[in-house]
């Protein structure tokens, strides 16, 4: 694709060829179309994620049971036509609890990740672009956060703020922004030295505009990768917190909680832990594959090769 030589006479022909090759316009829709054609796995992952999101949203309509509805006559029942995925030790329908748990897991996976990405990206770019004392302060703060075991820090936050979904959001956002800030800062350090940033500066563009219009778009591919890595890790963190008993509380449902509850009955009723574990695995993998696919189409450097 890269051409250095150019002869005026041939310019017109090549332009037509180029236009044909690239397609007339290069919109987001086209990019998604290209991804659909090239990467079936990413498309499949997107479908999986969409199915989970829809299932979580329409949970009350998809099952005849309530998430805390007990049927003491059918405790630890294996999968049957009435209870498609069986029941737990109090006779609650596992499928129902899985669907309601998806609400918690997906929201907890996505919302704190977005918060931590926003905070981390802005702090990272400011830190890398301005440098000096600002950089030192932000980065030492990040070091402090990273020096704690993140689960421990999250537990401390949950303990002091009390349990509840907002506490989980805050706990996960506080523990995750630092790693994002580090990655973005190191990207910014190299982007700051590029000639196009210098060229933008030579045109009198303001620093804020350079950060958001020139540096941020170049960070997007790594941010997407980070996002797809952080969503599953947030889902896992929530599972761990709930598993440890300080996350989501009974009778509410979450996948981590279900794994924990099923642990005791692993021999008699293995579906209790296996079903939510499989759900966690499926969602985590789907996010990772989707992230790979998105990075391939969104990164103009990769697109070329």
């Amino acid at each position: 694709m890269r051409r250095k030589k150019e002869q005026p006479g041939q310019e017109v022909d090549r332009k037509e060829a180029l236009a044909a090759q690239l397609g007339e316009s290069d919109t987001l829709k086209d990019k998604m179309g290209r991804m659909a054609a090239d990467n079936k796995l990413a498309v499949f992952s997107a479908v999986v994620i969409a199915v989970f999101i829809l299932a979580a949203v329409f949970a009350p309509y998809l099952t005849p049971f309530d998430f805390d509805e007990m049927d003491l006559m059918a405790r630890l029942a294996p999968p049957s036509s009435k209870h498609l995925l069986g029941t737990d030790e109090l006779g609650r329908d596992v499928l129902t609890r899985l669907l309601y748990g998806a609400r918690v897991s997906l929201v907890v996976g996505i919302v704190p990740t977005i918060i931590s990405m926003l905070v981390g990206a802005v702090l990272g770019m400011v830190s890398g672009y301005i440098g000096g004392i600002t950089d030192s302060v932000i980065m030492r703060l990040a070091d402090v956060v990273l020096s704690f075991p993140s689960l421990l820090l999250a537990m401390v936050i949950m303990y002091t703020m009390g349990d509840g979904i907002v506490s989980i959001f805050i706990a996960l956002a506080v523990t995750n922004w630092a790693s994002v800030a580090r990655v973005v800062r190191s990207e910014t350090l190299s982007l700051r030295e590029t000639e196009y940033v210098e060229a933008a500066r030579s045109m009198g563009v303001k620093d804020v505009a350079i950060i958001f219009r020139h540096i941020l778009p170049n960070c997007i591919p790594s941010l997407i990768v980070l996002f797809t890595l952080n969503v599953p890790s947030a889902i896992l963190s929530e599972s761990s917190l709930s598993f440890l008993g300080i996350g989501v509380q009974l009778p509410n449902s979450s996948w981590g909680l279900m794994v924990n509850m099923g642990r005791t009955f692993l021999y008699n009723a293995p579906w209790l832990s296996l079903v939510p574990s499989a759900a966690i695995m499926l969602v985590v993998l789907a996010f990772n594959f989707l992230g790979d696919g998105l990075r391939d189409v969104l990164d103009p450097h990769l697109k070329n090769s």
């Binding site: 694709m1 890269r2 051409r3 250095k4 030589k5 150019e6 002869q7 005026p8 310019e11 017109v12 332009k15 180029l18 236009a19 690239l22 316009s25 290069d26 590029t194 000639e195 196009y196 940033v197 210098e198 060229a199 933008a200 500066r201 030579s202 045109m203 009198g204 563009v205 303001k206 505009a209 219009r213 020139h214 778009p217 170049n218 997007i220 103009p300 450097h301 070329n304």
Partner: protein
Amino acid sequence: MEECLLEINHLKSYFFTRKGVSPAVDDVSLRVPRGKIVGIVGESGCGKSMTAKSVMDLLKYPGRIAGGTILLEGRDLTKLGSRERRKIRGEDISMIFQEPMTSLNPVVKVGKQVREAILVHQKVDRTEAKNRVLEVFRQVGISEPEKRYECYPHELSGGLRQRVMIAMAMVCKPKLLIADEPTTALDVTIEAQILKLIKELCKNSGMSCLLISHNLGVIAQMCDYVYVMYAGKIVEQGDVFTLFDHPAHPYTKGLLASIIRLDEQRERLSTIPGVVPNLMHLPKGCAFCNRCPESSARCETERPELYELREGHASRCFGSLESEASHE
């Protein structure tokens, strides 16, 4: 004297490193008259780009201006705050860089990048700005501007990218264009096109141009007045005809002798022996004395001044001063 657009007086831009101070630009004075093309020529590391970056206020740490004045239409740029400097960049002075391959943001459409320059300086809406970008694209010879507007840099050839860079520099109609080796990364056919374009733009819009190059051929073809730099100092200055017909400084003579000529039969290219001295450990005398074929004992102990030989022609060499005296 013609009216001066840019006047640099005794500019000193130093690198303050841990090992010591490196005088990358040392006591440089130059003038760019309105509507003229002025060239700075010299080998790598002689301070050409540093001079340009000092004017643009783009010096990077640990480099900074240590003294001297930069007057744009009589206003001293070194005294202005960073906000005012930013307003001048792009609006009054703009710059074309050496590498068209890396001077455009790879993830932003080229049209948007050029449009950004307008939006920064002028209060116009986006459609108006876009129309102006398309107009400038046409001016700099980009065919099918609408299509190119939507292109990413990697979809364009080197020549087209440099045209986009020129469009970006021209879009606010600056008074001074600084071209820092604008054609070094391009092949010769494109080089000729780009140079012709810059020359035409200057002629048509009355813009001045400070052209930085290591290529004497480019300088001879383009410039009205030429400064030769060596080791951070101006060693010779003169109008283009005087300089090329009667070079006074041995360094200029050496540069001219090492140009490839098709009309002469030579076994090898002549070169200037040796390398540029380390700026932190300059010789006591003339910076060029260890490479100079005409150096004398005096050159090693005493630093020459910039001696005016005739109106507008000066050389930093004892030898040229003496030979001039013997002529008269």
